[in-house]
């Protein structure tokens, strides 16, 4: 798993590449928390290259969503594969975290 962050003003895009499972979810959490700053207003997780995620990875996404809400910032996700989208939907995450087709759509919706 690899996270690559790009910051444009107060918008932070984080591209997640590879697998997030029970064995590396804590690394995923550290990677996200390490790159998010208090001045960020919008954080978009670009999951286009996420090949696999289990509940351990979803747990981290929810933790980050909670933290961002405390600093009055927004979390969104974009570019989900069909199966990742299905995992999000089954988990009810699509009701609490906006899901967009592209980074641009996530930006325009915020």
């Amino acid at each position: 798993m690899e996270c690559n962050a790009t910051r444009e003003g107060a918008n932070l895009f984080i591209a997640v590449d590879g697998r997030v499972d029970g064995t590396n979810a804590s690394e995923f959490q550290e990677a996200l928390e390490g790159v998010i700053e208090e001045s960020d207003r919008l954080v978009v997780l670009d999951l286009g290259a996420l090949s696999y995620v289990s509940s351990a990875g979803l747990r981290v996404v929810l933790l980050v969503a909670k933290e961002l809400q405390r600093q009055s910032a927004k979390l969104a996700v974009c570019s989900l594969s069909d199966t990742v989208k299905e995992v999000f939907t089954i988990s009810g995450f699509d009701k609490i975290i906006p899901v967009h087709g592209t980074r641009q759509e996530a930006l325009e919706a915020s």
Binding site: T23, S55, L63, K66, S91
Partner: protein
């Protein structure tokens, strides 16, 4: 044509990678769609991790037996462990899918995902072991 995988793993988290590699090989050999391999990996990870983390009170390694049989019409997964009695059909609290970000409880999703992704799930306790049989349609 029938393809199968039988694997015995120890109750330590490093074993999950070996399990995932074995499933990926079976998926490639048997021509599964990517989504099916994803789901089988997810189901096995969620269930195995539960046994590894919560299955036993005492220290020490235990074994989990996993058998996957793939036929033209679908897949059967059997999983057996000697952990404390745990019936995923009745012993897991359902997550509150309608809660807000603040109120949404962390965790509890693994069993929910597993149940949602299987077309049938049967549990029995036999000879001091949890025996779980799951069925997935090939297109799922």
């Amino acid at each position: 044509m029938t393809a199968r995988l039988e694997i015995t793993m120890e109750t330590r988290e490093e074993e999950l990678q070996r399990l995932a590699s074995a499933v990926d090989r079976l998926a490639a050999d048997d021509g599964w769609p990517e989504s099916l391999a994803f789901k089988v990996n997810l189901i096995l990870e969620e269930l195995a991790l539960n046994v590894i983390r919560y299955g036993h009170d005492e220290e020490g390694l235990h074994e989990v037996d996993i058998r996957i049989v793939s036929r033209a019409d679908g897949l059967t997964i059997e999983m057996t462990d000697d952990g404390r009695p745990f019936d995923p059909l009745t012993d897991a609290a359902a997550p509150d899918l309608d809660a807000s970000v603040e109120d949404r409880r962390i965790g509890g999703l693994g069993i929910h995902l597993t149940r949602s992704m299987t077309s049938e799930m049967r549990y029995r306790r036999e000879d001091g072991k949890n025996c779980l049989t799951l069925t997935l349609a090939r297109g799922e």
